[in-house]
Symmetry: D2
Subunit: 315 residues, 4 copies
């Protein structure tokens, strides 16, 4: 399998982990999701991210989910989240998924890191653990991980570790960060890395204009993300914004911390991509009021985007 | 002056503190802003909030800003933020502004509070300090203050302190919290309080439908907030959402932590309400790229809302 | 094997995980340590705690370390730390070690918990995951986990979960907490639980007098801890304090966050209990200055306690 | 008045703020304390620190307390804590106390700082606010302020700001930090600063040996601290440790977070230095059990140090 490089671009959806109602892995939905990503214009897939409920899986389950998606995705590169409380577990999973054909891995910082040196040191040790031959994605998500990486720290990590090929950018605010990092590349102080944006895409419209290469997030309409990235890259600015703005009310709703994944899985279930909207515990419930709000948002979105005109739900 | 009660409703804009370019208080802009609030349908004003740069003022300045706005606002109730590192300073400011005609005060929790009992105990001590005769607003803003209040904790504070008459609701996610609190009122376990929503209004559309009484936030188009609250209260649901959705791209942009206030002051300056967009240090700058994005957002918004069709800026 | 009950008392040393210089598990040292605990008066052992470097092990390694110690310990009850990022991994390890003869498990709270309800809810879900038949130790260690449990929260957990039989008490300050919890037992609002104290024993002298049942910590002289607990229980107050105070300078040194485990393993190596002082990464180094300080502390301690008169180190 | 310089050494006690039982400032006790510091060998005083209950005072009170102590201290240099939520209030207090004869000010970092650049930037702005002519003490106290400054960050602050003349060192662990900073001075990468240690002196014995210049902390026996610093500086190592170790059980007890200041004020009251042990709210109470423990510790200490043989308390 080709390895992930800093030329990555486009949309890498963050795949949710599908569960059956009884909590077991739903393999049929893994396949269905993967096929959908293949068909909707995604250029890669990330599995076992934070919103892939990775921490809720046993080691064997993680390996099964990643392996199945890698096999099904064919030529589409698959990145596997390998964040773990310790380097031994991280190394084990990283080596196993790379053997099974992953294109690279993603590593989030543990929330105990505070100083610049601690952050840089952590990634140095992580690379020693997984091996310098494994391309990795640096996840910069302070809201969830409480670790704040300045552009200077990201540059140190990129320069120290040739295997750091992509940034999953989800700082907030984050637009200036993209500009600063691209400036580092222009002034020659940092080699190029791919920058794909997270945060459910809440600022994807302007992130693309600041120099991002695409999206690496889990919004329930990745096909919309693909279109926005394509339109933006093609210079069709107002069309990109029009499409994005039509989705913004729903996208914002799905972006809520905690409850967002419940909304996302509900939407993917409504789209027929997940057999069940079930999450493993702990999970926020979808109340009747929230469900009605999501349906209201869908109905309003359907006026602008036919993708949101879903068949009435069976209830 | 009439005191704040739990019947408060409508829109209480969070007033920014206007500065001259040299850092001194801009009193002319205080008057201009106040007049604008009076004219646009606001039902009250909150001054010296977190985004009023309250911590950057000396005690005497705080008193001057609050006093001037109270005097200018006439019959419009003014709430004054009195959060302070200690109760002595809190009491001093609270007593002084109440003497000058404030309708009530707002108290945010210090970010050292963790357990339920610590939070409840803090507000008990705060009320002892300022006096039980001073109506106060409970500010629930975990993203900034890192203090997490469950609905049960809010109920304890409300039930223990008769002077707690309003909740500035800006938890995130927060929709279920409104429903739960209104449920407490219905089941008789909590007396009614006003709930006005913050978070720049990012979820005001559905917050109104969940039972909120209005908005208590600083978005640069408070006139839009007034309209949305009015439309929603009048049952004109789709009209409320249409107007809200038109503003959402800009509103989201202004809601960014840190840089948001810089954007807000720029917009208020562009609207002619502030003489200068200046902030006191520390403050995030508005880069040329960000400024262009804000102008782009304004131009797009102007197609839907004539309020955003601003005269070209002098530069 | 008999299961852990709320009658637990005495000293349960927190066993370090011994490593060879190359990072592999040092099984001979596991046996040696276990034999030492058996001989020095320990009434139980806790393995795979935070300072047992549990997060640095792979799942299979964790199982091997725990199994070996359980088998070697014979009739001595062994508690196994099963804290994990998710309930699936926690359940897997808990069920496996219980099958191999563990007396119970220990569960630390994830550092994302803030409100009382979140903490109580977490332990409810943990018990659902591991099974209500598995006795567990509640670890209350705010300094490391940043989770603050009031006595009231501990009572809720104890009352809700019959399988919660012991508290690893390491709040700081914590003396009043012991008094409050014992008061709950006296007033009938909480059933009795064992309270064994951590924090390297920094307050063990007075903790015993407040009603603690013993120590559950990893200080390199667990034999001293056993003596202090015995003397204190026997009413030989001043003798208990004299012995404790003689160790306090060294104990305090070992209690330092981060570097403490490095000191502890050095001391256990000096005592001949560990084949190597090695830690897995990430680990704080023992500088030459620190090593000299530890030797100085040992030499001074040796005047009062012959256990500290160690053979000169080979170097 | 002479200004604070990097030649500061010896013991600068952190003065508590004495209160009357009704909460007003106890000026007689300020005088008594100051006279005691003058007589016991202190080389300076720090007032309005975190444990001087500075955040609980109104601005006018802060100024009164500092002024009175400065006037009474005569030739003894007085450092005044001026930490504040904003730079305007910090500047106001700093300029006022310098006019009244303070030798310098102390600035703690706000707990929102995370990255290296944020910390360095904060002190740059603070110096702009108070003026580069005002010598300041950098307070490095991560346990309370949650701000982690690496040695490299401290070096950047020292090198950027000529007015940074002293470090109040209370990182934990902190011994290696002293060695590293002194190493920076030796290798010429950092100019010399005074390093005086806090943390209630819990590691003062070895901190002196690592190169600290003394203590800057509030333990209730500053006279002991003076002796330890003197003995250590004179090379009487074992005598220094003997004295220190005799105090360690009590010192450790007083060092407990939260309740420690209550213990300290009780002890200073027992020594006849404070007219009342009263704290302002919020404050931890001294329970009967804790009081008995402190008396027990005093009685044991009295066997070794006559200073602890206090007259029986009136009760």
């Amino acid at each position: 399998m080709p390895l992930l490089t800093s030329d990555a671009r486009g949309v890498y959806p963050i795949a949710p982990t599908p569960f059956l109602e009884d909590g077991r892995i739903d393999t049929a939905s893994i396949d269905r999701l993967t096929d959908f990503y293949l068909g909707c214009g995604a250029t890669g897939i990330t599995v076992l991210g934070q919103l892939g409920e990775a921490p809720k899986l046993e080691h064997g389950e993680s390996l099964d989910v990643a392996s199945r998606m890698i096999a099904r995705a064919g030529a589409l590169p698959v990145i596997v989240g390998v964040s773990a409380p310790g380097f031994a577990a991280m190394r084990a999973l990283a080596r196993e998924v790379m053997e099974r054909g992953a294109a690279g891995v993603m590593i989030a910082p543990p929330n105990s890191l505070r100083t610049d040196d601690q952050i840089v040191g952590y990634y140095r040790q992580a690379v020693e653990a997984i091996g310098a031959d494994v391309p990795f994605v640096l996840q910069d998500y302070p809201l969830t991980f409480t670790v704040q990486m300045t552009p200077g720290v990201i540059r140190r990590i990129v320069q120290e570790n040739a295997s750091c090929v992509m940034l999953k950018h989800e700082d907030w605010p984050g637009l200036e960060k993209i500009s600063t990092l691209r400036g580092f590349e222009r002034d020659g102080s940092m080699r190029r890395t791919a920058i794909l944006c997270g945060n459910n895409g809440l600022f994807l419209d302007y992130e693309m204009e600041r120099g991002a290469d695409g999206a690496n997030t889990g919004y329930a309409f990745p096909d919309m993300l693909c279109d926005v990235v394509r339109l933006s890259a093609a210079g069709q600015r107002e069309e990109a914004h029009d499409l994005f703005d039509a989705h913004l009310p729903l996208l914002r709703y799905e972006q809520q911390p905690g409850v967002g994944l419940t909304v996302r899985k509900y939407l993917l279930h409504r789209r027929g991509l997940l057999g069940s909207p079930a999450l493993r515990q702990p999970a926020a419930p979808l109340t009747a009021a929230a469900r009605a709000e999501v349906e209201h948002l869908l109905a309003r979105l359907g006026r602008h985007d036919p993708r949101a005109r879903l068949a009435p739900q069976s209830s």
